[in-house]
């Protein structure tokens, strides 16, 4: 689905405007908390099948942006467009139905459920049977239930957690908990996966493993948008990076361009005047 050109829907020469090559489009998005702008007039376009990184100093508004895209917060102004359809005012569960899944910065799991059940709950949006049918355990509902578990097992196998399927989520080691959080998001069959600091707190080995997993997920035709502080991981993983500071997007480009960008260096290291003040 990712490549319109490949499907022959669009002649190769023609520009692709008008099609939702940009799977996610954000227009002049602002979110104020009281008088404070957590995000200020941000435009952002994420193309299909790219791995996009969002970086910035603490308090730059990255997590707020995630919350607005996933629907936990409603924006003050602006638009969020997903696959060409405005979703700005939709509740979270309808956004999940359209294919947006996310993970949280702090590890957020169903801690009293087993690993398999956690992923199975993530599959929830794929259910088509009504309440009555599920309540009566009709053959159709049972079948869906079975498919859900099979799909959950597939995801666990894909992410390398299948040997721990019966462990309670709260008893998993930290690195595996982070991976499980991604599994839960994946179970919803998203076309856009948003990861909030996926490698935070991991040791270098775990980080390498997670980076590799994220690449593999993208290869399953899932677009990835991630916030991360670990520069090495971001530079290694992302094709394009957007840099935020004080709620504004200050730069965008490939990792090489970002490394050289003056504004970015300023944002991270401070300007010379600021430095002298601090000293």
């Amino acid at each position: 689905m990712g490549c319109w050109r490949g499907l022959g829907l669009v002649p190769d020469e023609e520009p692709l405007e008008g099609f939702w090559v940009a799977i996610l489009k954000i227009e002049k998005l602002s979110k104020y908390f009281g008088g404070l702008a957590a995000i200020d007039e941000v435009d952002l376009e994420v193309n299909e099948l790219e791995i996009r990184g969002i970086i910035g100093p603490n308090g730059a508004g990255k997590t707020t942006l995630f919350n607005v895209i996933s629907g936990l917060l409603l924006p003050t102004k602006g638009k969020v467009i997903f696959k060409g359809e405005p979703i700005t005012q939709l509740p979270t569960h309808s956004r999940v139905e359209r294919g947006i899944a996310r993970t949280f910065q702090l590890t957020n799991l169903f801690s009293e459920l087993t690993v398999l059940e956690n992923v199975y709950v993530g599959y929830h949006r794929n259910y088509r049977q009504g309440i009555v049918s599920q309540f009566l355990h009709t053959p159709m509902a049972k079948n869906e239930y079975k498919i859900g578990y099979q799909r959950a097992m597939e995801i666990l196998r894909f992410m390398g957690l299948s040997s721990m399927q019966h462990v309670l989520a709260k008893n998993l080691p930290f690195g595996h908990q982070r991976i499980l959080a991604v599994c839960i998001a994946l179970a919803a069959n998203p076309s856009l996966l948003m990861l909030d600091e996926p490698v935070a707190g991991m040791n270098p080995e775990e980080t390498m493993m997670m980076v590799e997993l994220i690449r593999q997920i993208r290869n399953q035709s899932v677009t990835i948008l991630l916030v991360e502080h670990d520069m090495a991981a971001v530079m290694n993983l992302c094709e394009k990076i957007s840099v935020f500071d004080y709620g504004k997007k200050i730069a965008e480009g490939s990792p090489e361009e970002i490394k050289k960008d003056k504004k970015v260096i300023e944002a991270y290291l401070g300007t010379e005047e600021k430095n002298s003040c601090n000293a």
Binding site: L72, V96, L109, F110, E117, H137, A141
Partner: protein
Amino acid sequence: MLSLTWPKRLLLIGIFLFLGFLPFIITNQYLVHIFILAGLESIVVIGFVAQYQVRLLTFCTATFWGLGAYSSALLSTQLNIDFWFCLPLAGIITGFIALIMGLLVVRAGWITFLMISVVMSEVFVEALGHISALGGWDGISRIARPAIGSYVFFSKASYYYLTLTLTTVCALIFVGFYKSAIGKAWRAIGQSYDLAESVGINIFKYRMIVYVTAGFTTGLSGSLFAHYFGFIVPQQFGIARSVYIPINAVIGGLDFAISGPVVGSIIIRAIPELLRIADKYQPIFEGAMIILCSLFFRKGVIGVLARLRTRSR
């Protein structure tokens, strides 16, 4: 539908045999009466625990119990409707009121929800007391006992079986939910609200399912309660009763959706009676149990039993 291990199945069968032959085992009529009360109460507690699972903390369970009791009693005494129609009608009326109330309050934050439920239980009693058409403070008396043809459920043993049947039915309704994807969604909501929302669970919808189902079963239990005693007064369904319902749930174990409420209700009702201290010391006993539970066994009595079993293995 029920995939259980063999020891668990045997245990369940044993419990059912015991409960099934209880009137023959226990000849003390007063104890049978206690078990009837415990059975009716455990239906209410099952509803409370289900609401607690989706983090709807409510203090008006007795209000819905009263709604069931009053609607059944009024239908029976005013319109001379047969008990066997009053029972389901009481459930449906209570469920319908729960639906309307739910649409208004389920979206609220938990503290607002809690406070509204407290207000509701107060308003309910006052309103009933002041409307003389509904019996006023004197309540409704001479509610007929259920009957099939010429057979009237008059003895304690026969009413016990009626209660046992209804409790089983209500428990099975909730088991049906808990074993399906709906039950998984309930547990997910209880454990992490944000994450449940972000995997696409429509939290409002699932909370409404719990709220209305709990209303329905509580109404059924209220109907049986009214026809058992033959008279009801508003004060029986006040805030005091609503506060005691959660105690049963906590003592049984809040994580155990069916066994917890049943065991909790039996303990709370039966033990003070067995020790012959009920009239004076019932509140003290309940308070002591709550303190013991919150200090030493957070998961309730069933939690302790489950832990003993895993330790012995």
